[in-house]
Symmetry: C2
Subunit: 157 residues, 2 copies
Amino acid sequence: MTVALHPSLESLARLVGTWTGSGHGEYPTIDPFDYDETVTFSHTGRPFLAYAQSTAHAGDGRPLHVETGYWRLARPNWAEVVIVQPTGLTEVTEGAVAAGTIELRSSAMARTPTAKEVTAVERDFAVDGDTLRYTLRMAAVGQPLGTHLVAELHRVD
Amino acid sequence: MTVALHPSLESLARLVGTWTGSGHGEYPTIDPFDYDETVTFSHTGRPFLAYAQSTAHAGDGRPLHVETGYWRLARPNWAEVVIVQPTGLTEVTEGAVAAGTIELRSSAMARTPTAKEVTAVERDFAVDGDTLRYTLRMAAVGQPLGTHLVAELHRVD
């Protein structure tokens, strides 16, 4: 049964689905790496999207990362997003939604005592038909805000 | 394929599975309500449990709440947990793991601008064989820390 998207989510409708593709990761403190990724945005008719992501190493296929969270709209052109990572990190971001682009900026980062220190995150998304591109910049472990992830995904569902 | 639980998660092993049951909600600012709930704790062999929860109104079955997050152990008797809620709330809790009990206390709460103000959460879990009981206390919308949820679930998988 297909449930209608909640009317408040209209400006995020193009995200709904499953996306796969590949990305590149780098940061001053780590060796660069390439990854394969699956992202899903799903809904149950209520006024939020459920977001889930997983990546695997492009070379040997070992699992690298997962994260999950929720997206909603404070108003049609402004998204509020909460994301958690199993390493003990929580992230509150918000930002402008325009035609095909979403620019999220962290307003609060919190973490468990053993989690890596990440103090700011910026996530830019661009949806062009069945292609989803994103970049993620972060300030972490004493480094200034800088590019960490760049990926291009394609709709598979 | 069944993957072995990561050795670091041994003291949380009894949580792994799917649980269903019912609960009661109350708070000074709302009408009391009863709910049906499903909770899952799953893993992929990595050093964390994925946690997901959903509730429905006990009377009319309408969806009430979902939340998701990750649990891991800083050491065998100490859990670190991050949870997000679609209303724009993130929660960092930690606490003691003993034989069949886990007592989580919030160390950081963060939220999006439109989320309800929740400033502290305490989650107590007790696992006795195939029964999982929990209570959730919170300080929210100007109220002191008080009981919000009490539930008893039974293992179904």
